[in-house]
Each structure stands twice: as C-alpha cells, then as structure tokens.
C-alpha cells in the first residue's frame, strides 16, 4: 500500500511526527506500507479536509482555526486561556477530545478519522518597543492573532489585525502590527523573532489545534498487519515529536539571549485579571453558541477540564 500524505509549508518541527510515522510504518511492514509526504503539491493547506473527503489522498494535517465551520467540535481546544501549560498536557487533552463521539461524527462527514495531534505550545507574543506586562498596556495594541486568541486580545482592548503568517514579519517590520502571536517554531521560521524586543514567557493565551487525519475508506482497506503497524506507531511518533520539539525549545532560550530579547514574566495577579476578561466569558460564549448549534459543547468543555485535572494529578 502506498499512501499520499498532504501537508504544507516546509519540513519543520511541526511535521516531524508524520515523517517518523512514515518511517516506522515502513519498517514494521517491511516496506509493504509506504507514505509519500507532499508539501503543498496535493492540496492547498485549508483544503486538506476536502481532499480527504474526496479521497484524493489518504492522510493529511490541518488546523482547526483555518476553518472553524468545518470542524466546530475541536475548536474547544483553541479556546483562550484553557490553562494548558506543557506539550504533554496538550497531547492529552487533544486526544481525549478526538476520542469523543461528537468529534468522530463531525470528522466522518468528511470521511475522515482522527489519527493524532500535532501538539503546539502556547502562542506567546513577541513585540517591539516597550515590553507590555500589564493588562492595561494591551489596550490599543495591534496584534497579529487569529481565531480564539484574537478574540482574547480583542477582549482586553487590543486590535487584532489580519495578515497572513507569511506577511507577519513584514507587518511587524512596517508597524502594521506591534506584536505577533505564534508558537516558538513559527517565530523562528517566519523571522518575527528577528524584529522582537520582548517575548511573553508565561502569558499562555492559547494555541491552535492541528490534527492529522486519515481517510476512513483507505484505513479500512489496509491489511490487518498494516493497520496494526499504523495504530501502534502513533505513540512512538508523538514521542519523537515531543523530544524533537523539546530540543527546539531549548534552542529558543539561546536565541532569545543571542538576540537580546527580553523575557517578560507577567505577574499572577495580572494573569488572573486577563483570564477574567478574556478567558471565562469567551468560554461561556463558545458553550452557548455551540450548544445552540446542537453540539454537546458543555460535555466537550468539561472533558478538557477533567483531562487536564487528571493529567496534573499524575
């Protein structure tokens, strides 16, 4: 069996688990099951789910925030200030939500099945000029942030501004925005770190959720041996991703020092204020909105909180 896998951009920390998965599967099946990973050749990134539904390719990665209406259920994972702090926690809550029947149903409409997540750290912001560490200082700030994170900043008076991720550096350099919210690897690969004077180390406003899915028909057509190889390789691939991203995070601190970027620690008091305005109210609005659309929103939300508590308990 040969699978086509559609991802986008360039090979980076964000796609390493897919390469690892391909490697493991090929090894375990003695080369009977191979994956051919294509960066943008098979689909546009925001249409990967469409491609899966057509059956043009068998596996793909996408991000929930690219098209919330295609995947309402998992947008719970992109709510601001959920309280996720580590990549391990991100994996745990993501996979718990992916296992929920409402998610499976929604994905089945696209003929897709969740395979694994691509855990992203919290989208902290880099900025130019004076560091902002108090809630009041975010008023009027122009920030490049999308989806739930954008809403959160809007709630505290900041002005979320539309630029694509590839224009983010340009926008920052030109003063179109004062700050940009990204995960660390994106601050590195889109160059926004080069313009930055400071970075919020612990604001942790939220992140985006980017699952890897497979086409259901293609999955069903795998031989038992191939399917087993695929399923049991997932944890290994995720572990590889985590250790690889861990290396990147270590390097991140060096980059900050090297470029003389100030690491802003926001006080607990200010963080609490932030969450009061931009956390719970947005969560409540999400629950109300999604419930009205017939999703078990409260259940999904509680599942996230419960999983997080359980993870902390360990």
């Amino acid at each position: 069996t040969e699978w086509n896998v559609s991802v986008w951009g360039k090979r980076r920390a964000f796609t390493e688990h897919i390469h690892k998965l391909a490697e493991l599967v090929e090894e375990k099946t003695d080369g009977a099951f191979t994956m051919n990973i294509s960066y943008g050749g098979l689909s546009k990134n925001r249409e990967n789910l469409d491609g899966i539904s057509i059956g043009a390719f068998e596996m793909a990665q996408f991000c929930a925030g690219y098209h919330p209406d295609k995947n309402r259920a998992i947008t719970v994972l992109e709510l601001p200030f959920l309280g996720v702090q580590t990549l391990d926690e991100e994996v745990a809550v993501s996979h718990a939500v992916y296992d929920h029947p409402a998610v499976a149903d929604e994905m089945a409409q696209w003929n897709a099945m969740m395979l694994m997540t691509s855990p992203m750290p919290q989208y902290n912001i880099v900025g130019t000029g004076e560091a902002r560490s108090e809630l009041s200082e975010f008023d009027g700030m122009r920030v490049r942030a999308t989806g739930g994170i954008g809403q959160a900043f809007e709630a505290v008076g900041a002005v979320p501004t539309s630029v694509t991720s590839s224009e983010a550096y340009q926008a920052m350099e030109s003063g179109v925005v004062d700050t940009v919210a990204f995960a660390q690897h994106a601050h590195l690969s889109f160059g926004t770190i080069n313009e930055a004077d400071w970075w919020t180390a612990n604001l942790n406003p939220g992140t985006v959720n980017c699952p890897v899915v497979v086409n259901i028909d293609a999955y069903d057509m795998l031989s038992d041996e191939e399917r087993a190889a695929l399923d049991e390789s997932v944890p290994e691939a995720i572990d590889y991703y985590l250790s690889n991203y861990g290396e990147l995070l270590k390097r991140w601190d060096e980059v900050l020092a090297e470029k003389d970027v100030q690491k802003v620690e926001i006080s607990d008091e200010e963080l609490a204020k932030f969450k009061d305005v931009a956390g719970q109210p947005i969560h409540d609005a999400w629950i109300a909105d999604m419930s009205a659309q017939g999703l078990p929103a409260q259940e999904l939300y509680d599942l996230v909180q419960a999983t997080l508590a359980e993870q902390r308990g360990n």
Binding site: L42, K44, Q170
Partner: protein, 476 residues
C-alpha cells in the same frame, strides 16, 4: 506505467493541444484533468469497476473519474483566493487609470525637455519615459501601445528612421514588467512561493539597468551612424521645470509602492505590498478624476481591467490544475533529480535553460510560458544551486536559496520580456505596428533588432554579476 511516464505522456498531449491552437488555459486544465484520472485509476490497478465507481455509503463519486473532477474542481476557487494574487487586478487597474490621468504624455514631455539634447536624444527620452510609465504600469503590451502613439510621431518629425523609432518603443515597453509594479513578477512569486515584496523590489535595479543599456546603445548608434536622429535642443530651464509637476504623480506612486515594501531610509516600511499597490491605484484614480475622467471612462477602465485580469487568472487556474496533477505524478522531483545528476557545470546548465527559454519564447506568450515551465524548471534550478536551504558558501551560484529564487526570477522575467520583441511572435512589435498604420510588422522587427544586442548584454551581465539583482532585496 510509472507515474513519471504518465506525467510525460500527459505533458506531451498538452503540448500537442497547445500547438493545435486550443486555448492554453483549457489545454493545461484538460491535461491536468486527464492526468488526474489516469493517476487515480492506476492506483486501483486499472480495475474496470473503479473508473466510474459510485460509493453508496457516502453518496459520492469514488472512482478515478469522480476523484479527478472533484480534485480539479477545487483548484479554480482555491487558487485565485491567494492573497498575493490580488495584486494583479490592482496593478492592471493602475495602468488603465494612469492612462486616463494623462500621465503618459506628461512623462514623455518631461523626458524630452530634460534629456533630448543627447545624441539620439528623443529616442533616449522615449526609453526613460517608458521606464517612468513602467513604474505605474504592470503590463508591457499596454505600455508599448501607449507610447507608440505618443513618441513615434515626434521621432519621425525630427528625422528618425521609422523602423528604429518603432523598435525603441517596442523595446521600451518591455521595461514595464521588470520595474515594479509587475504582474508577471507577482505570478512568478506565487508559483515559486517567494516573498512578493522582495521580488518586486528586486526588479527595480535590473529594470533601470536595462533602460540605461538601451540608452547607451542609442547614444552609441547616434554617434556612429550619420543622420541618425538629431539632438533636440532649445528648451529653457523654465520650460524644463514646468514639465515636472504634471509628471509628479508618478513619483508619488513609485514612492508609495516602494515605501510600502521597504523603507530605504532604514525606518519602518509603511505597510504590505498588497496595500501599497492598492493605495498607488487610488492616487492615480484621484488624479484621473481631477483630469476629467468620468463614469463612461471609468466603466470602460473597469471592464478592461476585468478582461485582462480574467485572461491572466484563467491561465493561472488552468495551469494549476495541471500542476496539481504534477504533484501527484511527482514529475518536478524527477526532473530536478535528473538535472542535478548531469555531469556539467551548473552555470552551463543554467545558461542552457535560459537559451531554451529564448527559443520557447519565440513562439509563446510570456505568462503562459512561465506558468507552464516553472513548476518543473524552478525546482531543478534550486536543486542545481544546492537546494532551498543552502548557504551562500556551499552553493553552486554563490548565493543562498532565497537569493537564488529571486535572481532566477529576474532572469526568467527578463527572458520572457525579451520574447516580446523577438520574431515570429513578438507581441510588443505587433502592437506597435498595429498602432502605427505606416509601419508593417516586419519594419518593427527590423527596428528592434539592435535591442536584441542590448538585451543579450543585459542578461549576460545579470548572470555574471548577480549583485545587480540582489543588492536591493538583500537590504530589505
């Protein structure tokens, strides 16, 4: 049959359709569509029941045919919504509005009063006026059409050879696609996924450089050929300065577009290229209103903008359906592996590629040529240099991957522009002959011949001294 074989057969079929005169957009889309069917069907081992298969559980076409039209059907909407592509209609609109704003005549008048005293002065003025208009026009053909009407009669009046006068305008028109804004540079940037702003910036110096090479050629000819075309003198300083204000909006637009991409004084740029193009258009729009453009003219400008934009976009999505198929067939990778396995010096291979473009461009339209070839040729050139992430020190051409993409882009666009003036299909020459009833197409081709030399020199220098191209973008 391997997917590479399928890729080659389908590509061959496309070329046949194109040569037979099928519209390039449809031929490419058709090739991509047939290719997708073929690839999807080959994955099922050509099972007969998998060609038209209908999946009842999903109420959906799941056979090779169905997957192909569902996949191809995503492309037109998906691809035209690329944000950078929104620059194309904007750049086209600027050109039409600039015409109604009277900027063309103002530029030519200013250039004449300031530099026509040189040997061959009126021809040199024409070159610099087209360069100035290039700063608001994104399309070469439109530029040539406009200046054929304004500049040729004046040159004939003072005794230029009519063929040479026509050649100057045909060649000068090509500057519009190097000097930003440029529709064709945007298209290149989209195909190769590079930063549009940097590429536009990179076109500026090579464009001006081309203009100076043209000017030098004209002065040289004027000095060696008797009765070539006399200098035009006698303008007072007062007259010279009076000619400037009407042409000033050009400067304003140039400054805005450049500053939106990159601030030469080291401060912040003013915005994004997308915004810069649109703000430039708005200024020209206000200017045109002030100069008497009213609803009928605006309506006309809008429909003409739509027509040219749609023509370009149709080729874009048509070819991208073919490119989507190439993605499944992995042809670009195979071709670039082959190129890098060749045992010749990389520079020699690059020169051969450029020569191939010169030959192809004799018969093809510039945009169609770039769209059809770049998906395969660009990865090969990048691989030749040592890959996307190569450092300058380890590379074959002495520049990192990003810079190589920019450099090759300018070279290819310059080649494409060269093709606009070479027989047998040289669109700029046709346009000039079309505007001037007294000139035949053969006349224009004869007149433009000296500029082949100038273009060859320019391209050779751009290849030999990449810094001409890369200096400006390396600052941004």
């Amino acid at each position: 049959m391997t997917s590479t074989d399928i890729g080659l057969w389908v590509t061959g079929g496309m070329l046949v359709m194109v040569i037979l005169g099928m519209r390039v957009a449809y031929a490419a889309a058709m090739a991509g569509f047939v290719g997708l069917i073929w690839i999807f069907w080959s994955k099922t081992g050509y099972a007969p029941d998998r060609f038209f298969y209908f999946n009842e559980r999903r109420e959906m076409w799941d056979g090779a045919l169905g997957k192909a039209f569902l996949t191809a059907g995503q492309v037109p909407h998906g691809k035209v919504t690329n944000q950078a592509l929104s620059l194309i209609p904007t750049f086209i609109l600027i050109g039409y509005l600039a015409y109604y704003a009277g900027l063309t005549r103002a530029l030519f008048e200013a250039a004449k009063r300031w530099i026509a005293w040189l040997p061959g002065g009126l021809a040199v003025s024409t070159v610099f006026a087209t360069a100035g208009f290039a700063a608001v026009s994104g399309a070469s053909v439109a530029t040539a059409a406009v200046f054929a009407r304004i500049a040729i009669p004046e040159m004939l009046k003072v005794g230029y050879d009519k063929r040479f006068a026509a050649g100057v305008v045909a060649a000068g028109g090509t500057l519009a696609s190097l000097i930003p804004p440029s529709a064709i540079l945007v298209i290149y940037a989209i195909i190769v996924e590079q930063d549009v702003g940097r590429l536009l910036l990179a076109g500026f110096i090579p464009g001006m450089f081309s203009a100076f090479v043209y000017a030098a050629l004209i002065v040289g000819l004027a000095l060696t050929i008797p009765n070539f075309g006399p200098p035009v003198t006698g303008f007072t300083w007062k007259q010279r300065f009076e000619s400037l204000p009407p042409a000033l909006p050009i400067v304003a637009v140039v400054v805005i577009i450049v500053f939106f991409v990159y601030n030469p004084f080291g401060g912040d740029a003013w915005g994004t290229p997308t915004e810069g193009g649109a703000i430039g258009a708005f200024i020209v729009f206000l200017m045109a209103l002030w100069r008497g453009m009213r609803w009928p003219e605006l309506k006309d400008a809008l429909v003409e903008t739509a027509k040219l934009s749609i023509m370009i976009f149709t080729i874009i999505w048509g070819v991208l359906i073919y490119v989507r198929f190439l993605g499944f067939a992995q042809l670009p990778k195979v071709f670039s592996d082959w190129i890098t396995s060749l045992d010749y010096p990389p520079m020699l291979i690059l020169i051969c590629i450029l020569l191939a473009y010169a030959v192809l461009g004799m018969f093809m339209d510039a945009i169609g040529m770039l769209l059809l070839t770049l998906p395969v040729v660009y990865p090969a050139v990048m691989a030749l240099n040592g890959g996307e992430f190569v450092s300058a020190a380890d590379s074959a051409f002495g520049m990192n991957g990003t810079m190589c993409a920019i450099w090759f882009g300018i070279l290819v666009v310059k080649m494409a522009e060269f093709c606009l003036i070479t027989p047998p299909i040289g669109l700029n020459c046709f346009v000039v002959a079309g505007v001037r009833p007294e000139l035949s197409v053969q006349d224009v081709f004869r007149g433009v011949m000296p500029f082949f030399v100038a273009d060859a020199v320019t391209i050779a220098l751009l290849v030999a001294f990449p810094a001409i191209v890369l200096w400006l973008p390396s600052l941004a």
